[in-house]
Symmetry: D2
Subunit: 307 residues, 4 copies
Amino acid sequence: MPTILGQNQYGKAENRVVKITRDGATHHIKDLNVSVALSGDMEEVHYSGSNANVLPTDTTKNTVFAFAKEHGIESAEQFGIHLARHFVTSQPAIQRARIRVEEYAWERIETSDANSKFIGADEVKHSFVRKGQETRLAQITYDGSSWEVVSGLKDLTVMNSTNSEFWGYVKDRYTTLKEAHDRILATSVSGRWRFNWTDDEQRMPNWEKSYEQVRKHMLQAFAETYSLSLQQTLYQMGSRIINNRSEIDEVRFSLPNSHHFLVDLEPFGLKNDNEVYFAADRPYGLIEGTVLRDGCEARIPVDLTNL
Amino acid sequence: MPTILGQNQYGKAENRVVKITRDGATHHIKDLNVSVALSGDMEEVHYSGSNANVLPTDTTKNTVFAFAKEHGIESAEQFGIHLARHFVTSQPAIQRARIRVEEYAWERIETSDANSKFIGADEVKHSFVRKGQETRLAQITYDGSSWEVVSGLKDLTVMNSTNSEFWGYVKDRYTTLKEAHDRILATSVSGRWRFNWTDDEQRMPNWEKSYEQVRKHMLQAFAETYSLSLQQTLYQMGSRIINNRSEIDEVRFSLPNSHHFLVDLEPFGLKNDNEVYFAADRPYGLIEGTVLRDGCEARIPVDLTNL
Amino acid sequence: MPTILGQNQYGKAENRVVKITRDGATHHIKDLNVSVALSGDMEEVHYSGSNANVLPTDTTKNTVFAFAKEHGIESAEQFGIHLARHFVTSQPAIQRARIRVEEYAWERIETSDANSKFIGADEVKHSFVRKGQETRLAQITYDGSSWEVVSGLKDLTVMNSTNSEFWGYVKDRYTTLKEAHDRILATSVSGRWRFNWTDDEQRMPNWEKSYEQVRKHMLQAFAETYSLSLQQTLYQMGSRIINNRSEIDEVRFSLPNSHHFLVDLEPFGLKNDNEVYFAADRPYGLIEGTVLRDGCEARIPVDLTNL
Amino acid sequence: MPTILGQNQYGKAENRVVKITRDGATHHIKDLNVSVALSGDMEEVHYSGSNANVLPTDTTKNTVFAFAKEHGIESAEQFGIHLARHFVTSQPAIQRARIRVEEYAWERIETSDANSKFIGADEVKHSFVRKGQETRLAQITYDGSSWEVVSGLKDLTVMNSTNSEFWGYVKDRYTTLKEAHDRILATSVSGRWRFNWTDDEQRMPNWEKSYEQVRKHMLQAFAETYSLSLQQTLYQMGSRIINNRSEIDEVRFSLPNSHHFLVDLEPFGLKNDNEVYFAADRPYGLIEGTVLRDGCEARIPVDLTNL
């Protein structure tokens, strides 16, 4: 046979599971999009179509929903750990499981004064509005002996309206850009960070707290960095996370430079004072980079985007 | 000529204008997507291609950016009023202008304790994160004598995890649905509301406050209505707005019934207690309706969605 | 009660029905997205939540799938007519039904020479590739006595690389645009056309043939018009349809002017000869208009897009 | 410093370049979306913000447009080769360039009989309609000594209405799926294939012909494989390409199993004969795999999708 099979994986993608936990009249919600990818002894299904080693993708879907009941959803990471362990340990042919999770955050709806008096509370305990800011991400991989957990987020849009410059760059025959000493810096953060928890014997991080803290440090680093280039800001964001969170060894960002071009108002007889900008769509700068704890190995793949 | 020209309009759509207002070190941001549509004596450009009456769409774009400087952006509605008035009063051939605005909300990034001490404040005054919840909408129409202002929002996703039922409906040959006495009710609100301000002689509403109040009443009505059908909830939402906001005469909603189907866990030997749901994409119920102040005429078009 | 109910409608949206017709080894496919909207005596469900007049949206979904079997899918329009008639005539409370259909076209996959010899045919009779060009649209409305059928399409992207000019327009204080005597004209056509078939007594149009012919005339008018403005092209496209297709009385287009800006190559020491363009996203001109058969009334709503 | 910089790259993404070639009255069009990513000695810009080694992303954008004039666009791959070579050889600090291209296909508009007589041709030589089927992809990477060219496509939607089965799979506690002996098999192909051309000394492949042939073999393999699993079809598709195209050593596919569920018509008193299907959105099976020429190494990254 002149062709052979390389890396392969399969499973059910984008299982939209919503879990309601009822603590008396107070309800809690977890809203996830869970994707399963399994690998192992899968030559035969590719070569001959024999499904003897194949747990159906439909079963992996059922397992996601059943586990929401059996184990609850404490966090995206913990839920993924339950699932990955299950597939690898229960199916002889499956040697590696990768669970990806998107999580959508919700907040409670505040009730009206009238209702507040009636129900004796400020919030309707079963009513929610989707937060709609970033999407939280988690990826859990298990090969039967060690764990890799990469958390992250996407679509967190941020902007500094000053404290950003760009000058002193290389100029070649095709360079027309004017140097900027006060520009808007805006991006939509896509980030991933890898935990150094790899073994059931280690103490597991507090996934929820870790996420909140990483997010906070990332936003603060963005806001507080006086930026001479988006690369510098990226490095500060990654560095700040690693310096503050000992559970994390590696961070990778993909940061579009969302250009806000100053509109030239002179043709209309108006003075420009860095006030009116055109927010452009395409093209955009795209700055991507990894920040590592010294001595650690990079494992997050280069491509977080796939054009 | 056997064919004639009917209603027509033209202009530049989706002008993405960002306005930074600098109040010392504290910056403020307005982030809009502005679309211009003009109508008037436009037969010739359609029949012969003569542009003698045509103000270029490029000029309408320039006007949007110039007006952000000349008038500032106090609110989406006020900005649209400036623009619509300008086009109708300055161009003899233009008899009607419709300005549509999408507005994206931003909130400030809280600074770190270290930086807080350093700058003596809790927030970085020039750093923002996009709120990312609903998109605010405004549509301003002017014909030279009277105004129509319709505000609104889209993509505000809400959910009640209880207090929703659906039963007692018509059953025909094609009916298989089981009655539900405790279900999830979820939707992504698309709403529009029309102001009774139509004349420069009237006192203008406080557009910013009005928006916040309408949004609040809408959310509260959603949360506090014990719902026997999404139609009932829709009517309560519209009714609550009109009863509380005297500046508004008409409300229209387009509410997808975002189905959350209870997963049947029995095949897995598990008991179901209204905990695990599958969030479905398509198809979805679509409930649309207008609520009017008694005695007022409906003017918001039926179609808020265009499949 | 100070508020009253205005126009309202409900039903199941986006039912994705695929119908395979098996003519021996040769299969045929119809791939539709069907949305149902019903109106009638629906006050009570809004005011009190009583569903006594409500045929569930789930039932309207079931009906779509059942009708694909009972009536087949001859065309999007004919299928919509079956559905609309059914809802209005079978449910006393329902007085008006509107069916919207999106149709996705498929073409056959040509087989390889080896297989061709083996199966004695050039095409695999059960294998298809989605055409992926425009999406065909149909909207059928019935009130128990008369019909309104509006067909259309969206996302048909076209371009003329010459034979387009734009000059002689109004210039005001905000005008900076240079006149153009040879530009690219490109748009993504969104069009709707209304048939004069309104009554079961009339002979029904051949919906499939009509669609193909309208599409052909529209494309040819776009290609063959020497254009002094996109409005002129729009009018020619509509006019050509009405002049060639007696079954159609009204056409409306929403045509974005998809700007292709000539890149200035002079700074790089290159000569420009109308060769290299930047295809911009936003903002874009938006030209919308109705063309009517003389003496006919306009009935297609103004808004084909909803920003 | 406890953190260090890992892999990083930067450049301008999504440059939308349209090139018109004028061969007398006959025009030709190339419509690309080009993304540039550069790597090299970029520590300083991350650590201190010094841009001394940074060619601005704006310059990389200018270069894309200038090269469309200077070199023309013979094919996506050839254009990417020109660009990658330029960045690596002209900038000392840049050691690696990766160019990604999306290409959108256009076809000519046939002219009307009347115009045909007038212009003496069946097609308007400057009028085009976008084909709208798959998007063609190319990725060119150069490190100053060797080349890697990976071509591909995405969004090519295909369906077999028979000759697909799925049975004989593993059943565990969570398995409820019924075995299928005649089902619809549908997917939206995302594929990449790597060329064994790596060196300027080798004869370069005919990129345009190669693409057409790979696409043809892929479609035919999909159509002609009697499928017991989507994995089997995937392997046949990859294998057919490698066996027929000596210039290609590796193929990777990401194939969603676009479920078409047979609608149960029995509750409506109808017989089902494999005719009416519901096309589901989420979740979906996701089958991914690499097929290699025996003896070759896999280099295409595992992740073609990034949920």
